[in-house]
């Protein structure tokens, strides 16, 4: 193994296209039937449209090679609405655990499902389909 894999979990999805990341293009180049988890250190965050990208250095483990992974997400606007995200929510140098749907071609990339920031324990997701009702947070106290 050339990466730190904690687990590969088969997940069932009912319909094609019901994925949390798609923003401007389809995402079936990612295998949404799998979850790959990596432990690493954030190298760069590209807080850009139409997809935010996170580069994560994964150290060698168990004799495997170190690798740089690219994790794709939805747009900055959609992430902010998903809750908890800002452009600095995940920063270079952060130790992270990332669950992703991996690229089908085996390259070091995936579509984010969940990121956990090790030091704070903060968990962030990117499911824009979780917002499909009106007046979200309407009941929240004014800031």
């Amino acid at each position: 193994m050339n990466l730190s894999l904690r687990k590969i979990v088969l997940a069932s999805l009912l319909t094609l296209g019901a994925y949390p990341v798609a923003a401007h293009h389809a995402t079936t180049m990612f295998d949404h039937a799998k979850v790959v988890t990596i432990n690493g250190v954030v190298k760069e965050v590209h807080w850009t449209n139409p997809h935010v990208g996170i580069y994560v250095d994964v150290a060698s483990k168990d004799g495997g090679e170190a690798a740089l992974w690219v994790i794709e997400m939805t747009s900055p606007g959609n992430l902010v609405r998903a809750g908890g995200w800002t452009r600095n929510a995940v920063k270079p140098g952060d130790k992270v655990v990332i669950d992703m749907a991996p690229l089908r071609d085996g390259k070091k990339g995936g579509a984010l499902k969940k990121v956990t920031i090790a030091d704070s324990g903060k968990v962030l997701t990117a499911d824009i389909r979780a917002q499909e009702r009106a007046n979200l947070e309407q009941e929240a106290p004014a800031k």
């Binding site: 850009t48 990208g53 900055p76 009106a134």
Partner: protein, 274 residues
């Protein structure tokens, strides 16, 4: 001498034509009148469409299966190919070039929020992608131009029927897709006409569309898409420049913040380093 007379006659004819043209009454330009206080007051009588509207993406996914457009045989064959490619993990890269999703795909399959502004004589839809996703819908009573220059969103005229905005659109670029998903779509191939009826019920915006595209559909396609109203400030529309994703922010040797091209694969994803 004969040649001289011919030239002279031609010159006199030209002078006469010029004189006629100069004397012809100039075509009166159409002036858009300045809005009056009443015009602004009338805006207040329109239904409240304020806030930010995010799409029902799950319903888009569902309608891709349950309510596909009535494609003609040629278009259906391409859709079948796209479906096979999608299942194989090679989705057709319809929108990865950062050209606008255009009309009617924006209203059908956007994953991004939009807002709607009312001003005298116009309704304006502003979206959050493509760099400047925008529809101008004229409600000042004008008709369509006889031969409008085709654009991604076409030429739209609207009228209010009670609380329903009825929009008629022509002049959409033939390259603009009719896309039931981000991985399935066929260029409308020209002569497309759409009729929309938009209304709001209990903070849900209904966008009924009747798409007539005789070059790719066997009959008009009818669909209703849904958007949810949000008033939480975190839903405010933000800038969304699609091309930005094709570059990586860097600092050059002189200390200037610059963008460097970022390689992407054919599907539009950043290419992971080897």
């Amino acid at each position: 001498m004969k040649h001289f007379l011919n030239v002279l006659a031609a010159a006199l004819l030209a002078c006469s034509a010029t004189s006629f043209a100069q004397n012809k009454p100039a075509e009166k330009p159409i002036i858009n009148p300045a809005p009056t206080a009443k015009d602004w007051a009338d805006i207040g009588k329109l239904p409240d469409w304020s806030g930010v509207w995010n799409p029902n993406i799950s319903d888009q996914d569902k309608q891709h299966v349950t309510n596909p457009p009535p494609w003609n045989a040629k278009a259906a064959a391409r859709i079948q190919f796209q479906q096979a490619e999608l299942k194989a993990g090679r989705p057709t890269p319809l929108f990865v070039n950062c050209l606008p999703e255009g009309h009617p795909s924006w209203m059908m399959i956007s994953h991004n929020a939009l807002e709607i502004l009312f001003t005298p004589g116009r309704v304006t839809m502003l979206g959050e992608s493509d760099g400047g996703r925008l529809r101008r819908i004229y409600t000042d009573g004008r008709g369509h131009p006889l031969d409008p220059d085709p654009t991604f969103h076409g030429h739209s005229i609207g009228k209010w029927e009670g609380n329903v905005l009825v929009i008629d659109t022509i002049g959409v670029l033939p390259q603009s897709y009719i896309a039931p998903s981000e991985a399935h779509g066929i260029p409308n191939n020209g002569d497309m006409h759409t009729l929309e009826r938009i209304w709001v019920e209990k903070d849900v915006m209904h966008v009924y569309m009747k798409i007539t595209a005789p070059n790719v559909l066997t009959k008009p396609y009818e669909t209703t898409r849904y958007y949810f109203r949000q008033r939480a400030r975190k839903f405010d529309i933000v800038e969304g420049v699609c091309q930005e994703g094709y570059f990586a922010p860097r600092i050059d040797k002189d200390g200037y913040h610059v963008y460097e091209p970022q390689p992407h694969d054919v599907g539009g994803n950043r290419i992971p380093p080897k």
